[in-house]
Symmetry: C2
Subunit: 593 residues, 2 copies
């Protein structure tokens, strides 16, 4: 049972048959065609030799298939994580140097350990720190940053440095040095990819192909661009005139390797590793859930953590760099009909074959073509309209999104996301520290109690009924003290305060302290605290403290009961009269809702 | 109006009269008697020349009286903040050196700026980060740490280092070097102070004094110890035999001074300054609120921040160190009958007079007596029983308290409190990321809906009614996606999901995204999302997004309405029959509550 929980393939492997294998095989073929150029491109984006992108698409895919719970997620190098890798290691070592490569592998290992650790300790909730506006701002900014960073490859110039502030002026300065053949190839590729994204499938359909077939063929658009570009470079010997090409890619499978364990470097990379793990996990889980829901399947966040953790460890030990589940390739995998993670295993085999056989053919692939692939892929990530939408919906969320976007663009990848996370946590704490509370009164002729500011209700002058619409815990414990103090100070006649707790799911130790403080403070002012409508589990927990023994008040089953008990005793003068005579009609000057 | 908000003395100053002045004057006299030895002692605890304690008790008191909102709070050096000051500066400079002194003033200035900034930006809610278990664990640990740190003065030995791990072995090693006369004076003082704390007042009362008079006199117990000790040292020339005395204290008021602004040092001290500000604020506000409530007065957290900020700036510019509102002295001030902050102004004048006139008399005050004063004061802070109580009440809160206590004792003051804050925030996020949700069904014969696991209710097989008992925001947005996906995956017959939102006070941008994702995912699986019982303000906000236009479902005024609308349409076969025939009695196998 436990083993089946951690190894989902024990489930799907059982009923695996030829039909599934056929579908998985076709999906794997299409994903492989897509993944070969993408892997090379993202390795380049991460500042690494292109072959590492291929290495990162073999063992990680196999391991995810063993441990991951999504049936259609396609794992490998992705744009945002590659950018984060470059941002983390770039300032430490020269790109592509042995130390740089070793650090990238170390980063993958750390990320793998963090993710697997989160799985075993059930810490997946940590990903909640990343609110949607922060992620959206971060991804848009990453897209812009990556696209601008790749522009130098399209122009065929060298621009040193990281970040918008360094790259943009550098680009402008080096415009006169633009290498025209490179720019021509790059621009044509950009145009072709842009056009193929939306127009190729309809065209093929008009040419008489079935929709599925046309869709699958259209996905080979980037491959066509690569083949044509390689042919051009080879036939016209464009590398002789200065078009930079990928060059020699080592042939054969990666060997098993261990990243150098440098403690100082580990400490230095730790924040980046944590962020890469969290961002990668969030991206992967949201893709996985979307695809699973389409077939009414489920994914398990814990298994996803373990699957991604194993993938990253696999990447670390086979010459790769941090990986995660990618959006585009997973959708392609799903649309092409993948049924089980076996598609991922087939894809890994496809990439492995490519490394063994195809790499000599890729020698003449121009870097500008890879850059064009990246630019078209990442511009799809940029969603500036979301900034406007979020701002209109909520100023606070909008501010978090803007701060993250600007932080990533102007300060740096990690600083930007940390700023956003901090701001959204602060705003969350601020919001949650002021829970909704309402002074309530009795609806005439009923046992119901409603907000006195919204309804025409009756109150006793001696009893303050306060409904709390939130669990009581440390972020709002002080607010509770403040608010009750304020209300009682403003009502000199009050002798009893009844806290109505139907919305209280938890009272933590801080709130318990606050309740004790409140009861004591009220007592010194001649007022008694009571509770009403306390939920069962909360009552059980309160019984584990001494609060109920010494706070001096009662716990009423209902607010109505509380009023019936407390108010008559306080209004001896009118006790003989009608039961409701002590209540004041509070119609005047109050909004009716 | 605005000016009156920031300068509370414009209010109380208006009606100030001779009677108030008399009461404030008496209270000030008693607090001054208490504050002179305490100020010297806490300066020593902070590793500073004793006179700085007196300096920190003049200008800060005046400024608090101008800006603070508590009528009875007594500001000055306190034990915990002095310990934090020593912990922050101790590792950087030799105690008592000019750089050390300058850093302490800088710390006061930074703390003043942080507190005043929090006041102006209304960031007082940041203090909520410090949950009660963390504060309690921190204060107990501080008490233990301070008491053990002072033991060397009682023994008359030198023990270098900070923290339990360094001091305890050092103390044991130097036991043979104990200076007996010092130990004798220290122990006698300890015994006297300990006895006087509880026994002196009853004794004086039995001797015929009135309760108030006896109480006020009893508070002079420490002063008596000091006078006797000074007399003994002077008459017996004990300083000649090695009893360490306070020595020369400069006479006269402090001059205006500016701390050296060293940017690197500021960066280094920043975390300590933030923690000192927050801890000081929390301690001060809780004392202030407790005392205010006794007279049904209010304090304003923003004014408290400003008052404490001004106090610390005052300390920085007049040769002092970080200050805050102290518990013991404020209670003494309150009990002695202080009516307004004028008592604080009188106290400042009293301390100023002492600095000008009394300092020569304090030359022969033995350090061991001051250490005894500190030990008796801080042992009152240690509340180990609270560890047991909190642990019994809640494992999570108990863990936060233990971690803070052990962290402060074994690792360090700042590290311990940061550990505790981080842990309690993580636990909070974990709890809040799993809000209570219940699948609900209709109570037969009513329009009410209740949890199907607790009540015998009726459900439609096609409609899933889910009640959310929590606002929807980013920490729980993903949980919502998970939970709905899970529930729908387990119920293949479901065609409609109705999210019942009576407990939802807010839907932030993350939760809005999640709702859109959920609606879309459900749609691909042939299920439609609806909402019911959405509160007015939440509805208004939803209308500012496009969610309502394209999610495809309806927003029902009540869950009953939703069921009446959705369920008949789905059960065409039974539409002609009784209105409730489509509902399944779900009595079997369910717990009744």
């Amino acid at each position: 049972m436990n083993l089946r929980h951690w190894l989902p393939w024990l489930d799907w492997g059982r009923g695996y048959n030829k039909a599934s294998a056929g579908q998985d095989g076709l999906a794997a073929l299409i994903v492989t065609l897509m993944l070969v150029p993408q892997s090379l491109a993202y390795a380049m984006l991460a500042g690494l030799p292109p072959v590492m992108g291929l290495y990162a698409s073999i063992l990680p895919l196999l391991l995810y298939a063993l441990f991951g719970s999504s049936r259609t997620l396609a794992v490998g190098p992705v744009a945002v994580v590659s950018l984060m890798t470059a941002a983390a290691i770039g300032p430490l070592f020269p790109a592509g140097s042995p130390s740089y490569i070793s650090a990238a592998m170390l980063l993958a290992m750390m990320s793998g350990i963090i993710l697997a650790g989160m799985a075993l300790l059930r810490l997946g909730f940590l990903a909640n720190f990343l609110s949607h506006p922060v992620i959206s701002g971060f991804i848009s900014a990453s897209g812009i940053l990556i696209a601008i960073g790749q522009a130098k490859h399209i122009l065929g110039v060298s621009v040193p440095g990281e970040g918008l502030v360094q790259i943009l002026p550098g680009l402008l300065q080096s415009l006169p040095d633009t290498h025209l053949p490179t720019l021509l190839i790059g621009s044509l590729t950009l145009l072709w990819l842009w056009w193929a994204r939306s127009q190729l499938k309809p065209l093929l359909q008009r040419a008489g192909l079935a929709a599925t077939m046309a869709g699958n063929l259209a996905k080979a658009g980037p491959v066509l661009a690569i083949v044509v570009a390689i042919l051009c470079v080879t036939l016209l010997q464009l590398d002789q005139v200065g078009v930079r090409v990928v060059g020699n890619i080592p042939r054969g499978l990666p060997g098993f390797s261990l990243p150098t364990l440098d403690l100082a470097l580990i400490v230095q990379l730790l924040p980046a590793a944590v962020l890469i793990s969290l961002v990668g996990f969030v991206e992967s889980v949201s893709v996985g859930q979307t695809l699973a829901a389409k077939r009414r399947e489920r994914i398990q966040p814990d298994n996803e953590l373990l699957g991604l953790g194993a993938s990253n460890l696999g990447a670390a030990f086979s010459g790769g760099f941090p990986v995660t589940g990618g959006f585009a390739r997973s959708v392609v995998n799903f649309d092409a009909g993948a049924q089980t993670p076996m598609a991922g295993i087939f894809t890994a085999m496809g990439i492995a074959l490519s490394v063994m056989l195809l790499t000599p053919l890729l020698h003449n692939l121009p870097q500008t073509v890879l850059a064009a692939t990246i630019i078209v892929a990442v511009l799809g990530l940029v969603d500036l309209g979301s900034l406007r939408r979020t701002w209109r919906y909520s100023r606070q969320d909008g501010a978090a999104q803007w701060i993250t976007l600007l932080g990533v663009l102007l300060i740096g990848v990690e600083a930007g996301i940390l700023l956003g996370v901090t701001l959204s946590l602060l705003l969350f704490l601020w919001r949650t520290s002021q829970p909704h509370m309402a002074v309530v009164g009795q609806v005439p002729g009923s046992e119901h109690f409603r907000n006195i500011e919204r309804f025409a209700v009756m109150e006793s002058p001696n009893v303050l009924s306060l409904r709390v619409d939130e669990s009581l815990y440390f972020p709002n414990a002080r607010f509770l003290e403040d608010r009750i103090g304020e209300l009682v100070a403003a009502r000199p006649q009050v002798r009893h305060v009844v806290l109505m707790c139907p919305g209280v799911n938890l009272i933590d130790a801080s709130a318990l302290d606050s309740l004790e403080t409140i009861a004591e403070r009220l007592k010194t002012a001649g007022v008694q605290l009571h509770l009403s409508e306390v939920k069962g589990p909360v009552m059980d927990q309160l019984k584990r403290s001494t609060f109920l023994d010494h706070f001096g008040g009662q716990v009423f089953i209902s607010q109505y009961q509380a009023l019936r008990t407390l108010a008559p005793a306080l209004t001896l003068a009118t006790r003989q009269q009608d039961d409701q005579s002590f209540l004041i009609q509070s119609l005047d000057g109050r909004r009716q809702a």
